[in-house]
């Protein structure tokens, strides 16, 4: 008689409890099974192309101590959960938790080794920390802004639509009053930033030129909830996210497109946690336009003779798809690259750390607002890597990436111009 197979007793070893709610039990499971392998600190070794660009974790690279790493945070989680430490035992706990861009670099590398969700663990830890210790003073403005204005930039709601006034003659649909197939979800940053206004204008123009049936919510648009989600204000996230999904479902759209990687990742992935389900597809604008490029509907008029390098925003890349253990860490990697290659005259050269093993811009996880020194340090590392490719410009399509990279570049000896993908497209159109 065949001997019975000796399998693990704990069913979670037989299958990762993906659908289990993220509570203390699940957090402990992830933390407990950290074997201190340190892949969370380094680019996956098969992808390491040089000694210089072998690190994946900005926090660990900057702060050096292992406490500032995925492994360190697992150790911290275990200590807190098992009652060996308390949140107020050490002021550095705040830095360990929050001087992290939540970029998912560690998360992605860890998924090559085991089934786990490190970023979700950090999110849980942040929310537990805030419950015990209160929100961070560094995030006060952000929190106040959300409460007062439903955006993160302390700007009155009415300002959210200001950019669209320049395009009145284009006749962009107001989905509060009209119907359209596609909602262009602009996001707080593109919606409110003067600096980034040309980009959103270009996006709208490109969509209009290609006869896309789209509209916007204007000053009725709420924050997607990404910032509160990342800094641990999960109730605030739930408030905004639930309101958004309900509203978007009411619009009867087939597709929501957004140019912001943060909004994209949040709506595409995090919104799946909500009890109310999306009734539309979620795409990054680059995914949408890639389809048009593939159908040869984009008619470039001029050459853009530039060598460019593409920065993969984390939240449309490795954090841009729901996790399925064992499946590829898919994300929006190829679409922007195809678009770049389609632009006449553009030559694409890659940085060493790209795709699911890209180095973060530094702007995520609350670092951009709360820990500028760290955010800009991270950006400078990325800019140095971009410069080393020999490219003329660095291209990306996330307002946080653009803003933080530009901020980080101030004062650097060798400048690297940052350009948005859609601005580049427009240059050729």
């Amino acid at each position: 008689m065949a001997k019975e197979m000796l399998l693990p007793k704990d069913p979670r070893y037989l299958k990762y409890p993906l659908d289990a709610p993220f509570d203390k039990e699940k957090a402990r499971w992830i933390a407990f099974n950290c074997s201190r392998c340190s892949v969370c600190k380094w680019v996956n070794s098969w992808q390491v192309k040089s000694a210089r660009y072998a690190r994946i974790c900005p926090q660990h690279t900057r702060y050096l101590y292992d406490s500032h790493s995925g492994q360190g945070k697992c150790d911290l989680a275990l200590a807190i959960i098992d009652g060996k430490m308390k949140w107020d035992d050490d002021p550095e706990i705040k830095d360990i938790l929050f001087r992290c861009t939540m970029c998912g670099g560690c998360d992605a590398m860890d998924k090559n080794i085991r089934d786990a969700e490190l970023v979700k663990l950090y999110r849980w830890m942040r929310s537990e920390y805030i419950k015990a210790m209160g929100p961070l003073p560094e995030h006060k403005n952000l929190i106040d802004s959300l409460k007062q204005y439903d955006n993160v930039w302390l700007q009155p709601r009415s300002k959210r639509n200001a950019w669209a006034q320049d395009l009145k003659n284009l006749g962009i649909k107001d989905l509060n009053k009209e119907k359209a197939d596609v909602l262009l979800f602009v996001g707080c940053t593109y919606g409110l930033s003067q600096e980034l206004k040309p980009t959103i204008l270009n996006i709208a123009k490109i969509l209009k030129q290609n006869k896309v049936d789209f509209g916007i919510l204007g000053d009725k648009e709420l924050c997607c909830g990404s910032p509160p989600d990342k800094i641990g204000l999960l109730d605030e996230f739930e408030r905004l996210a639930t309101a958004n999904v309900k509203r978007f479902n009411e619009l009867g759209i087939s597709t929501l497109i957004t140019p912001c990687a943060g909004c994209y990742g949040t709506i595409r992935v995090e919104y799946d946690e909500l009890p109310v389900k999306k009734q539309f597809e979620v795409l990054h604008v680059s995914e949408y336009l890639d389809r048009l490029v593939a159908d040869k509907k984009i008619n470039y008029q001029r050459e853009v003779p530039l060598t460019v390098t593409w920065h993969d925003p984390c939240h449309m890349g490795r954090m841009g798809r729901p996790y399925v253990p064992g499946k590829d860490l898919e994300g929006v990697y190829d679409e922007p690259r195809r678009i770049l290659k389609s632009i006449p005259g553009v030559e694409l050269v890659e940085m060493e750390r790209i795709r699911e093993y890209a180095w973060c811009c530094g702007g995520g996880g609350g670092a951009f607002t709360g820990f500028k020194d760290f955010a800009q340090w991270t950006a400078r590392e990325r800019l140095t890597e971009a410069k080393d490719t020999g490219a003329d410009i660095l291209v990306t399509s996330c307002p946080w990436c653009e803003s933080n990279l530009r901020a980080g570049g101030i004062g650097m000896d060798e400048k690297m111009e940052i350009r948005n993908l859609f601005d580049l497209m427009m240059q050729a159109l």
């Binding site: 099974n33 098969w46 430490m85 550095e92």
Partner: protein, 523 residues
């Protein structure tokens, strides 16, 4: 919290200030949240409550700073543990109060790569993956241990290091050239050509008797002989591409090396003897780059991309029914594509003569592109933890290939005896061929569920069996080479107790270098 009491303690403050004066305030920490990140590991100690947080973590940036730290440790008689990447924290978890972790995070330079003379000079944080990447660009190569290329290259040279390509290019102990090393007594020792010129590490021997002998032994000194701060390591000729060829996305990456220079075979036999005979013939024929007989469980450890996939496939017996007694061979065309063709013909002759059969093509196609090249680039060794949270390794031994057979069968018997809690692994006998078949290495690795009760109980039983083996005069043979508890146990039997204790006393008079490693001179 107890730590606050320690931190307020006068002695603690004195030590803290001494470290800060030597390294700068930001490079010394003693706070609980930092200490908490330095006592976890893969092995039982943390799980079984045998490890504890350190008292300090310090970040020196140079040999002189390491020397300063170690001198302070001697002055205050505090134990220190030098760590490299601290992957898995094999012996990097403090086991006594007041320990200082010397963390090399500020020592990550590759000082030099001499392409012509094929060596690199590195600091402790440099990983094998980093060094491999730089080597490939120059048409050179360095191996990766089963544990992973994310490990520190220096630390990897100090411990085991049975790289897949060690079959052809030599394993870790052969790969060390000059060393710069801070002894536990605070003296800076330079060996090999570094002894003559601290900037020239090209050669490893001497002068005269070779003090590299103190550095390792099969399992290294486990931090018990101070800290290596610089090492020159050999690089090797490499006919492969300048960047590692990878397609796909984590965790489903595949890697296919150029077919005109690399070729994999997996050939199976009806018995372990048959497989070993095949390995001998390959060595005698002076062909191949990698020759390994992996246990069934390795195939699925490296291959499975999720827990569900692992256990589903395991229960389907995909590997158990197909790779038992199979030998993985990778031919390398070092000289030319014609060499590869020649070696293929020779290997095929040997396969025919020895009665070997290739494994099923569908299993080969399933496994090889995703996994085989692990043994050249990186095994992602931590995947071994996936199926049950941890694994254990026992009965590591090295002698001839043939000797490995009996030895791993003993390992088999142990595994059978203790299953459960050892989980299903279908025979965990790993045998590697090295130095063109001049010697063989065997190891017994198996999955065990990461549960404190089970592991604690198992560890006690296995240690008891090892002790019994030793007391029985090694009737069943036992790997006498491991560090940790084995030195205390094995040293009297293998006749090196007084020697090792004397050396330890001579260079670590205050017994501060990761006690009780590598041996307790007072026990």
């Amino acid at each position: 919290m107890a730590k606050k009491n320690t931190q307020n303690n006068e002695r603690h403050q004195q030590i803290l200030q001494a470290f800060q004066a030597a390294l700068g305030i930001e490079n010394v920490k003693d706070n609980p949240a930092t200490m908490n990140a330095y006592f976890g590991d893969w092995l039982p100690p943390k799980l079984l409550g045998m490890s504890m947080p350190p008292e300090f973590v310090v970040l020196p940036s140079s040999t002189l700073e390491v020397q300063a730290v170690i001198k302070i440790c001697n002055r205050f008689k505090v134990p220190f543990i030098p760590v490299g990447s601290n992957q898995w924290s094999l012996t990097g978890s403090p086991n006594r109060q007041g320990t200082v972790i010397i963390d090399c995070k500020r020592m990550g330079k590759i000082h030099e790569i001499d392409e012509k003379n094929m060596y690199a000079v590195i600091e402790p944080l440099v990983t094998l993956a980093q060094l491999q990447a730089e080597a490939y660009k120059r048409g050179l190569y360095i191996g990766s241990p089963e544990a992973s290329a994310t490990a520190s290259a220096i630390a990897g040279h100090c411990f085991q290091g049975m790289w897949g390509v060690g079959y052809r290019l030599g394993v870790a102990y052969r790969n060390i050239l000059g060393i710069e090393w801070v002894l536990p007594n605070g003296e800076i020792l330079r060996t090999g050509s570094f002894a003559q010129d601290a900037h020239n590490g090209f050669w490893g021997e001497g002068p005269g008797p070779d003090l590299r002998g103190m550095l390792r032994g099969y399992a290294g000194a486990m931090g018990g002989f101070g800290m290596v701060t610089k090492m020159a390591v050999k690089l090797h000729p490499y006919p492969g591409p300048k960047t590692w060829p990878v397609k796909g996305t984590i965790p489903n990456q595949i890697s296919v090396l150029p077919e005109d220079r690399f070729k994999w075979y997996i050939i199976k036999y009806d018995s372990l003897e048959g497989a070993i005979n095949f390995m001998y013939e390959i060595g005698k024929a002076e062909i191949a780059g990698v020759v390994q007989k992996w246990p069934t469980v390795y195939y699925i450890w490296w291959w499975a991309n999720s827990n569900e996939q692992y256990w589903t496939e395991w229960q389907k017996r995909t590997f158990q029914d197909n790779v038992k007694n199979a030998v993985g061979v990778c031919l390398w065309g070092f000289t030319s594509a014609k060499q590869l063709e020649y070696e293929k013909r020779v290997l095929e002759d040997i396969i025919k003569e020895t009665g070997g059969k290739p494994i099923k093509q569908e299993v080969f196609d399933l496994w090889v592109p995703r996994t085989a090249n692990n043994w050249i680039r990186d095994t992602h060794g931590s995947r071994m933890m996936r199926p049950s949270g941890t694994f254990l390794a026992l009965r590591l031994q090295t002698d001839t290939l043939k000797y490995s057979i009996d030895h791993v069968r003993q390992g088999y018997a142990w595994v059978e005896k203790f299953s459960p809690p050892i989980l299903d692994c279908d025979g965990p006998d790993w045998i590697g061929g090295y130095d063109f078949g001049h010697f063989g290495f065997g190891e017994t690795d198996f999955p065990v569920e990461k549960r404190a009760d089970d592991i604690g109980d198992l560890m006690n039983k296995l240690l008891a069996m090892t002790k019994e083996d030793v007391q029985n005069g090694l009737e069943n043979g036992v790997g006498p080479f491991l560090g940790g508890p084995y030195h205390q146990m094995a040293a009297p039997v293998f006749n090196y107790e007084n020697l090792l204790k004397s050396i330890k006393k001579a260079i670590d008079p205050n017994f501060v270098s990761n006690p009780p490693h590598n041996i307790d001179p007072n026990a």
